[in-house]
């Protein structure tokens, strides 16, 4: 599950207002940039962002929650920049994020995104693939064409981040074909860092670059976003096992049904405990896991210490995130929005 695939959240009113404001500031830039795409590819992109229906009819639009653009703008503000000057950078990270969603949906064969059929199911794989390719280049083009002095450094940084995202997604796919005893916890953390942490970190780093920050501050903001991103992933993985079906809209233990090698699962599998072995046995079965087996698997993750480990890790990562932030923004009152966003993504209850 990715941030944007979740339902609209109701917790964290400060962050919600911040996200609303971000969408108001950044959506027009994203949209006008997408509208520069050649016709056939623009159609797929407009559909993906929810601005058009499959037949090209204008739609209300329900793009993502704009966490990443909000981090860009909040990081820029925290370091004293005018938010308006970083709007293109904010739009660029959201374009890059959405390019990965277009391609991830193809690779994962996901049928729905944001409560609508995914682009590849509507337009076919070639069109969705090419639209993603074009959006990848479009994100970098927007940065490269920005007359802001941070343009070149930001372009190179986002390009490096995209490469890391691809490696993370590649590792995630590779884990699926490996046996339950064949993925180490370090590999799993590295995958989650690349797949989820990298772009949150890059978003914060771009905000810092656009504020004219020095290398150390940029690196600290990147680390803040990465650690917060990993904390988010840990919480998201816990929800994937113990989330309330009524609130998540998914069956109980959805990640266990799919035998996902999520962080708490791999922590349990690699725990060297008897419960870890029970879980490995359940994950090795060829038949589908019924309700009882899913409950047994969740119980095994818990007895093997996977649940406690993930909760402790999430808290630890958030602690590290704040330490990194404090290095770059000693007066944490200026970083209130960044903290609110980090807490928002990790305190989601569904």
């Amino acid at each position: 599950m990715t941030l944007t695939s979740a339902d609209p959240v109701t917790d964290g009113p400060g962050a919600v207002a911040l996200l609303d404001r971000t969408r108001t500031a950044v959506d027009p830039q994203i949209r006008s940039t997408v509208e520069t795409l050649p016709g056939s590819i623009r159609r797929v992109a407009m559909y993906h962002f929810g601005w058009e229906d499959a037949d090209g009819t204008p739609a209300a639009g329900q793009a993502g929650k704009a966490i990443r653009p909000a981090l860009v703008l909040a990081a820029a503000r925290a370091l004293g920049a005018e938010e308006a000057r970083a709007v293109k950078a904010a739009a660029a990270v959201e374009l890059a994020h959405n390019f990965t969603l277009l391609h991830d949906d193809i690779v994962d064969e996901d049928p729905t995104r944001r409560h609508r059929p995914t682009a590849w199911t509507v337009f076919g794989i070639p069109d969705a693939l090419m639209a993603g390719d074009a959006m990848n280049a479009l994100a970098l083009r927007l940065l490269a064409e920005d007359p802001h002095p941070a343009s070149a450094a930001a372009t190179a940084r986002l390009a490096a981040c995209v490469i890391e995202l691809c490696a993370g997604q590649q590792a995630d796919c590779a884990f699926e074909t490996r046996g339950p005893r064949e993925v180490s916890l370090d590999e799993c953390v590295a995958m989650a860092t690349a797949k989820t942490g990298a772009l949150l970190g890059c978003s914060c780093a771009l905000g810092a670059l656009y504020a004219g920050a020095g290398e150390e501050e940029v690196a600290a903001l990147d680390s803040f976003g990465r650690e917060a991103g990993l904390a988010f992933q840990l919480i998201d993985d816990l929800i994937g096992i113990w989330g309330d079906p009524e609130r998540t809209g998914k069956p109980a233990g959805a990640d266990l049904v799919a035998r996902k090698k999520s962080l708490p699962v791999v922590a349990a599998l690699t725990s060297g405990t008897a419960a870890g072995e029970e879980l490995a046995e359940l994950y090795s079965r060829t038949a589908a896991l019924d309700e009882r087996a899913v409950r047994a698997a969740a119980d095994a993750v818990e007895r093997a210490g996977g649940r406690d480990w993930a909760q402790a890790q999430a808290a630890d990562r958030m602690g590290r995130a704040v330490e990194h932030l404090a290095r770059a923004v000693p007066d944490l009152s200026a970083a209130g929005d960044l903290l609110a966003l980090a807490e928002f993504v990790t305190r989601r209850t569904r």
Copy 2:
């Protein structure tokens, strides 16, 4: 068929020496750049470039013919730049080209490239797709990180070109699902321009940018490359119908067997002649075309004027290419290498 899918050529000794020299100058840069990719993705890329076998064993390497990097370096030289300073730009266009090959092979379900199994058949679609995504970003990253003053303009220009390439490939796929009377010649020319001309044009433009040329010269070099690229595509399409199987390594009329809507075919289909109607009827059949039907189709293209049109167009496009070149490089003796490369790609006999 793309430039690099053809057999090594034997004609045009001047151009061949130029391409050899280009590979010597640029391959180490491409390779060291590819080697910065994260492990799993690097493996796919190293295989695709022929530097490693599927199991990671070092291989002799049989990458492409390096037409695009050669155009970058020749354009830079023609406008008075030191070739060495444009090596990163030359490597970047070749990386961009190869990202499109990785994805085109997936979309077109092509089993072989450069006499080896395609990456997606060896590593699976997810890995090949992610490697292509990463290579797209890597090409732009290489330009964005280049300290050369043309870096930003070149990055933006290559990104814009990638978007055009995607639109061209998208159109090409879309043509396949349309009936023989449903593709206009203008659409077909626009597709070929985007899919083949754009990157040859961009290669020349990047060379000009790296030589510090002004906007008009850059645009003229771009037009030179585009027109030469379209001439190449026309010739390639003629070979796809009338090429000698002994020399092309493909069955006679390969493009007709596949019912490709290539340029001479669409010229015939839209000719308003009785022969054009015969061709449309053959293309509308649901059964496979046997040898006799393929001969009849080739004959219909010829009688409908498709062959003559394509030959005349190729000559016309080459004429226009030279005119554009003369605008930017009034002393054409300085542009000898660019002319040799343009003639090389259009005079291929297989």
